[in-house]
Amino acid sequence: MRHGLDEYARLDSPLHRWEPRCKFVGLMALIFAFSFIEDLYLLLPMLGITVLLYKLSRLPKTYWCDRLHYPGYFLLGVVVVLPFVSGETILFEIAGLAVRWEGLLDVVEIATRFLCIVTVSLVLFGTSPIATTLRAMRSLGVPSLITDMMLLFYRYLYETLDRLTQVQTAMRLRGFNRQQLSWRNLRILASLAGTLLVTSYEQSEQVYRAMRLRGYGRSTARVSEIPVRTVDAIALGGVLAVSLTLVVLQSLGIEIWKF
């Protein structure tokens, strides 16, 4: 399987060693706590926690930069649009467009929250193999139908992507001009998508037969869960306490940096 998700899943760090179920619960709680933050005074502690987590995970900076390439466009959109449309207090004008103070504050708040949540997500899914994370989700109560679908989806995604690339190359070599929007081109592209669906459907029948032969669907002895170590539980307790503190501070509107 070719993928970038498990690229750094075998490193050795406290986050890599953290029991997957505890890690999932703890970091998801942190993600939600971050989404609660609206007070500018709480952005700095949130940023500090995120940097600390990423440092602890020992994931390389290049991994972070590569992963932020695509969502960076979203951030750019926010930075470009919000200061001009949100708020009433005009700070200055650029080419006749007023830059507003409230809009700038919105940008700072959204961009920081966005970067922190994405970084914690990277730590969550980058420090364990995806199969381990899905097993943890299953043991935490996510329905088996969903986790089975996730595993199979992930297993066959790149195969389907390769198939699309091959067919598109063949179409180009046969002179298909994809730059024009015409009835004929739309029909050809619909046939291309249809072919992908039909091929996947036929492959799924073979996959199901192979899975049945390997015992899929029969009741098996329940795999005993690895017990949670004390250190994992303490780490989970710590992260939950931090998350709860952030939510409480935000709810009470306490400006901690004024003390």
Partner: protein
């Protein structure tokens, strides 16, 4: 058409997860009534992968190009599996490409999945008008595709404008939602036409693909 992490307040994110939880529970309950639900898991998974890849096909709209959402088609083909399929697809988009995000997974899944449900039911109505007839298929394929993306666009803009930025007045927000949604009409039509063509292709090549769970007798 994804809402990114950090964009929405926590209460909206939590409400999104609640709606998605309820829709997933409903889907799973319907799926379990199927004769052999396990047999359909590989089918639904691989078709989800194919839909995911199919949505990467760019449709030229000079001078740019767009990619389709295909949630209406997904509803028409997968029936009750459509919602879990969308949830799985969005989860991996968030995890692999940071497209969407974990805090807004519930909102995005509800935004794409509930219109897919409705598309599945709209596509089911074709049985009342002669399901195998080409004209019926193409009309209901168009309606399913257009409804899926159109409704998702409306929900998307309503959520975005209502939550960010917070300093617009209500009148401006309403106008913005309608203007942005109306600007999607060409895309809605293209998605509808594309879905209609694809449904006709499937009827010709693999008709069994159009017998989704929502359409089959349970």
């Amino acid at each position: 058409m994804h809402i990114a992490d950090g964009f929405l307040p926590a209460k909206v994110c939590l409400a999104g997860y609640a709606v998605t939880g309820a829709a997933t529970w409903f889907s799973l309950r319907q799926i379990r009534r199927d004769r052999d639900p396990q047999a359909n898991i590989p089918k639904a998974s691989l078709l989800t992968a194919a839909f995911f890849v199919g949505s990467l096909i760019h449709i030229p709209i000079p001078p740019a190009s767009v990619h389709l959402v295909l949630n209406g088609l997904l509803g028409a083909v997968l029936g009750y599996y459509a919602f879990p399929a969308i949830l799985v697809g969005l989860f991996f988009q968030a995890v692999m490409f940071q497209h969407g995000g974990m805090s807004v997974l519930g909102v995005n899944a509800a935004m794409m999945g509930i219109p897919a449900f409705l598309s599945a039911y709209v596509f089911q109505f074709r049985h009342r008008f002669g399901s195998d007839h080409r004209t019926t298929l193409s009309v209901f394929g168009f309606l399913a595709g257009a409804l899926g993306v159109g409704l998702s666009a409306l929900i998307f803009f309503a959520i975005v404008i209502a939550n960010v930025p917070s300093n617009l007045n209500a009148e401006a927000e309403r106008s913005a939602v309608w203007i942005l949604t109306l600007s999607q009409i060409p895309l809605v039509i293209i998605e509808g036409v594309f879905t209609s063509m694809l449904v006709l292709f499937l009827q010709q090549v693999k008709p069994s693909l159009l017998q989704s769970t929502v359409n089959s007798e349970q």
